[in-house]
Symmetry: C2
Subunit: 403 residues, 2 copies
């Protein structure tokens, strides 16, 4: 697998991004298109309150073949029957200029909740997006920029693998900062690839990939109404079909997971008000599920996050958050190590507090990127989770009055 510095457009895809007038100034609509028919896969928010486009995408998951149409600035969430009709209309409008029917397109929206979509602007935007479609990396960057809301930078990742002497590109872009900013919502991620792979295998790989990446990050513990991760694979690399349990499948999975995990970490780094990136690693857990529960619980704890804000080696809070995670583990066997670029320090060894140099611990924890390792003796499973500290700015951003 080769990691690309810059987003690389997979063969056979085109993209565009522009300002359609939903937001005041910034780009607010994006289109990704493949004339060649794609396999498709998607994972969606588990929130019972699903935005209209999420409901629409779930309904067309098996029939999508050609593209994704996205708007930012309005989430089309909590918009009743009108919202459902508007989501379908977005797909119909895209299809009217391009190949296939409306069920060949995914639709995504992110932004204000509870306000109907400005359909005249959406319609004008789609017309322009189709005109601007281009296979260039720059066009993909326009699309990547157009899906942002409160994000402070674009989130992009590309990896290339070679199968039978030919390149297969896996490229993704995402948005997400707080799960919901003052009425802004959502984590969105789009992966496109020219691999030749069935929808069913793609869905399987996406499902397990998301479990270990997007499902392991937490900015504030709030699961949005619009969270969506979509993959399109058009086979334009002209390589043989990737089949399950092959060496090629392993390679492709590695590239897909690289893109997913890079995007997930970028979202965490851009967490609302975040001052510090936190990685929590759990080793020696009884099961994968226990390892994930433990890592997620620690990275989601307000008290742990506040302690990291204060560069405080407060291992009691970490153990406490492990304790209420719901995971099965033996607290008397836990060892805890804090680390960063400035070194590592053990604070708990087999359940017994280690007297440690508080100054050294503080030096380690003052770094922008810090890590906690929890080692158990319950089994062989491991998991990682990623998050950020809880800061004054988080409260400020999310406490500001909307007007």
């Amino acid at each position: 697998m080769i990691v690309e510095d810059k987003m690389r457009m997979p063969n056979g895809f085109m993209a565009s991004g522009l300002h359609a007038g939903i937001k005041k100034i910034k780009k607010d609509m994006a289109l990704v298109y493949s004339e060649r028919e794609c396999s498709a896969a998607g994972t969606f928010t588990t929130n019972k309150v699903k935005a209209a486009p999420v409901k629409y995408d779930i309904s067309v998951l098996k029939s999508v073949k050609h593209g994704i149409i996205v708007n930012s600035g309005n989430a089309n969430a909590c918009t009743s029957k009108q919202g459902d009709e508007d989501a379908a209309e977005m797909a119909r409008l895209a299809a009217s200029y391009l190949k296939g029917d409306k069920d060949a397109y995914f639709v995504c929206s992110t932004g204000v909740i509870g306000v109907p979509l400005p359909m005249a602007k959406i319609e004008g935007g789609i017309k322009e997006l189709v005109k601007n479609l281009s296979p260039s990396s720059e066009a993909l960057m326009d699309a990547s920029e157009a899906i942002l809301t409160t994000d402070t930078f674009r989130k992009e990742a590309s990896a290339v693998i070679r199968i039978g002497g030919k390149d297969i590109t896996v490229t993704g872009f995402a948005k997400g900062s707080g799960m919901i900013h003052p009425n802004m919502a959502t984590m969105l991620a789009f992966i496109i690839t020219d691999a030749n792979i069935s929808s069913s295998l793609l869905q399987k790989m996406l499902g397990s990939g998301v479990e270990d990446t997007f499902n392991m990050i937490s900015v504030d513990g709030d699961t949005s109404t619009n969270d969506t991760c979509l993959v399109l694979a058009n086979g334009a690399s002209e390589t043989p079909e990737i089949v399950e349990k092959s060496a090629e499948a392993e390679e492709f999975k590695e590239a897909l997971n690289y893109v997913l995990s890079t995007l997930a970490c970028l979202i965490t780094k851009d967490g609302e008000g975040a001052g510090r990136f936190i990685e929590v690693k759990v080793e020696g857990a009884k099961s994968k599920k226990d390892a994930r529960l433990l890592a997620r619980s620690v990275v989601s704890s307000n008290l742990v996050k506040a302690a990291f804000f204060g560069s405080d080696a407060n291992w009691g809070r970490i153990l406490c958050a492990m304790g209420y995670s719901g995971a099965d583990f033996n607290p008397d066997d836990v060892s805890l190590v804090f680390s960063s670029a400035k070194g590592a320090i053990e604070v708990l060894k087999d359940g017994v507090p280690v007297s440690f140099d508080e100054e050294k611990a503080k030096t380690i924890l003052l770094e922008k990127s810090v890590s906690v390792l929890a080692v158990l003796k319950d089994g062989e499973e491991k998991a990682s989770a990623w998050g950020c500290d809880l800061t004054y700015d988080y409260v400020k951003i999310n406490g500001d009055y909307r007007s």
Copy 2:
């Protein structure tokens, strides 16, 4: 039921509270004692990491007869085998001066995690506590003061019912602010009553009472290693035994629930950094469990809490938190009303946004005590939850370095 303004000591109980030297200046040890044998009940943290005194109390729950010995300033949590021995030694020391064996006493600790108890100070403290035992309300207030850590005020409640022409007093006191302050831990609540009631009925009533009170509050979503709620009933009111399904049982339950809910709300009002008290009421839920899940999810959401800090009528976040609560409900039927002493305003009606006066909403939400009512159409069940807003001060208090 008559509500008492001031804590009233139930018949046959004595108490004391004093400074034993665990903390620098403030009172740090408390004793509650009944010479007459008591029925006892208790509920404990569900955290898998349980402090030594919690493990001890669970082991003696069926044998406790005479009292509760408490220290603040040190949680005796994450203190290995030594901690278990120290907890048992605290009970043994109390018993050595009073009636019964060590298994006749509950032990509670709250404060720093991971530091062994200073047993010489504890021993001296217990000796003095026994000397100072008094049946006065003032002695009970000393005890109530001695269990506090980062609390800014004492939390106390008393109710009196009359059965057969005689008074039965139900009195409680509690501590708790953040679930864990920089290494300080715990919610503790102690209820004493001179009612004549079996341990099994008392346990049943406490269990259901705690479900609707202490289990429905959230300051920061972190469940401590030491959370404990204990009840002692000594029968010294000389009234007939309260038996299940009687009118007397209903009356006693009402008094117990009054004390529990008052203490729970006082803890929320003293939440770390809290500027605003929030009540979330859910009506029309399919089941009691669904109603509780919905109310708790809303009151625990960082984004909802931050919105209340900003007095922002951000109903999208409330609906979103209901959506990921895990409860079964129909989002298309939800109505939402914000209210306070300044009035009420409906923002969502049967799932459809209501256009409302933002200025009026802000006036309502600027009050110190605010309320959200969510009305569903899924059934007849209801529940309430209580919490506080997320403020700069919360981050400050919990981000400060421990030294």
